[in-house]
């Protein structure tokens, strides 16, 4: 066990020394990793934020029944009774035209304009919480509600959520494709970096093999090197995205304030951040492993025929 640990400790130290020996090259390589990872990770963050908004919307499917402006108290009570008889709905709320007007005044900042209208243009309305009703059930409920007396409009605005979900699915595929494509590029970058290192250290590798080094012993420092570069590259990408999101949130909060609402982008969750680090570290590891395997067999072949 202590021998195993000392071998890994030695390999890790060699990898760190290798990074320190060529700081500019190492930094450039890490920057390449971070930039390449930032794009798919950035799109992923955007999609996750949109998914959250869409999720909030689908979690609270609502139907709004707007009554005719001439509807009276008896009509309202009749609809109230009808709604109470519907077990499929999770609940409903009556919003009188007076309350609706008051809320509009408070939230939109158009109090003066509304005051000048002279009369209340808003109808009485029932806002119905549909819970997790299926599209078919929603449609049936809509038809039934539409048939009640003094009902002017029945609005079910979940179509945009479905469209957004479909777009998010396309976006998810785009992220997977970009991540695969860029991942392959990063593996190739690491393959080449390790190839150059192996060419530089070829004498030592050849000698080590002749005096009894296993392939694992030779491979290990390069694997640590690839993994470290991948992980540090991902950490830098995370930081770049954090700075970008902070800056965007400043601009978004200003925009949202104008519409009297709040809007902020969330960064990657801890779980997704960890996945980003592991993904990038694995890419570095794969590139290094592939390169070492290929060049070790090349060295074996050349030292045999020489």
């Amino acid at each position: 066990m202590s021998s195993w640990l000392s071998q890994h400790g030695y390999a890790l130290m060699r990898a760190l020394r290798q990074l320190a020996a060529a700081p500019v090259t190492s930094l450039l390589s890490i920057i390449v990793f971070s930039i390449v990872l930032s794009l798919p990770a950035g799109i992923f963050i955007l999609l996750e934020n949109l998914r959250e908004i869409s999720g909030q919307a689908t979690d609270t499917q609502q139907m709004t029944i707007m009554l005719d402006t001439v509807a009276g108290q008896a009509d309202i009570e009749l609809i109230n009774t009808q709604l109470e008889k519907m077990p499929a709905i999770e609940g409903f709320l009556f919003i009188s035209k007076e309350i609706a007007l008051q809320e509009l005044k408070q939230e939109s900042g158009m109090a003066e304009v509304i005051h000048n209208l002279g009369q209340n243009p808003l109808p009485d309305a029932f806002v119905i919480n549909l819970g997790h009703m299926s599209a078919n059930e929603i449609e049936k409920t809509q038809v039934v509600a539409q048939s009640w007396p003094k009902v002017a409009h029945v609005l079910v605005d979940t179509d945009w959520v479905r469209k957004l979900d479909a777009m998010l699915e396309v976006g998810r595929l785009v992220v997977i494709m970009l991540a695969s494509l860029f991942g392959a590029a990063l593996v190739i970058v690491m393959f080449n970096t390790i190839r150059l290192q192996m060419l530089t250290g070829r004498d030592e590798i050849e000698l080590s093999k002749l005096i009894g080094a296993t392939d694992g012993y030779i491979r290990r420092p390069f694997l640590y090197f690839g993994t470290i570069q991948g992980v540090v590259g991902a950490a830098l990408a995370w930081l770049l995205l954090y700075l970008a999101i902070t800056k965007l949130n400043e601009a978004l909060s200003e925009l949202a304030r104008l519409y009297a609402t709040t809007l902020t982008l969330n960064h990657l969750s801890w779980k997704d951040s960890l996945i980003l680090l592991l993904f990038s570290g694995t890419l570095g590891w794969i590139g290094a492993r592939w390169s070492v395997a290929r060049h070790l067999s090349q060295i074996d072949h050349e030292s045999t025929v020489s």
Partner: protein, 220 residues
């Protein structure tokens, strides 16, 4: 005495029909010092490479200790080499590190602990007379010192077999005698030593067995 190395009808062909060794049969006892002589291209280096599995025989059997080299899997070769010390014709010194670090390399490869390694490296350097140069840059060493560095590196892990390919090539006679004295001292403590050379002065004065190769055949 038990045989340490055995060749049984060993041949080695290279591509384009070049036959480096032809039907070699020989036996070297444990603790023996043997010279392989012959002109350049006679097959001396190939024979030594076969013992450490740098090359594989085209036909025939080779055994080192109780191991049949021909049956060794690729992954087992490093462990065979850890029991053999090798001094290469082209020295293979690493010039990016000092003398101490060069000699340390075989112990790093076998994961010796640091304290034991340091004392073993100093012991090996002391044995070849380079203890006062442990921090020296190899580029500053003379030809004889470089060769002694290679010997220290070959013996630091205390192998049972020591193989030297042309160890006195490019050395003047004084250095060559020093190097041979070092090999003799290892042989006296039971290490099996195989030396390939075409240094006639060395061969004429030795009391040890000399096996002569000519165009891949064992002639004496």
């Amino acid at each position: 005495m038990a045989a340490m190395i055995r060749f049984n009808n060993v041949s080695k062909f290279y591509p384009r029909e070049y036959e480096a060794l032809k039907n070699i049969t020989l036996s070297i006892d444990q603790g023996e010092l043997v010279f392989f002589s012959g002109h350049s291209g006679a097959g001396k280096s190939t024979l030594l490479k076969l013992i450490v599995a740098i090359e594989r025989p085209t036909s025939g059997d080779i055994s080192v200790g109780q191991q049949n080299i021909g049956l060794l899997r690729r992954s087992a070769i490093p462990y065979l080499r850890r029991n053999i010390g090798m001094i290469f014709q082209e020295q293979k010194i690493l010039y990016d590190r000092n003398v101490f670090a060069n000699v340390m390399l075989p112990l790093q490869v076998t994961a010796f602990d640091t304290k034991t390694s340091a004392s073993r490296v100093r012991a090996a350097l002391d044995k070849v007379g380079l203890l006062n140069k442990e921090k020296a840059d190899p580029i500053t060493l003379s030809g004889g010192e470089k060769q002694r560095l290679c010997i220290a590196r070959a013996v630091v892990h205390r192998p049972t077999v020591l193989i030297a390919d042309e160890p006195t090539a490019n050395l003047d006679s004084g250095y060559a005698r020093d190097i041979m004295a070092v090999f003799e001292s290892f042989n006296q403590v039971g290490v099996t030593v195989l030396i390939s050379t075409h240094d006639t002065m060395l061969l004429d004065t030795t009391q040890h067995r000399v096996l002569e190769l000519d165009h891949g055949k064992l002639v004496a």
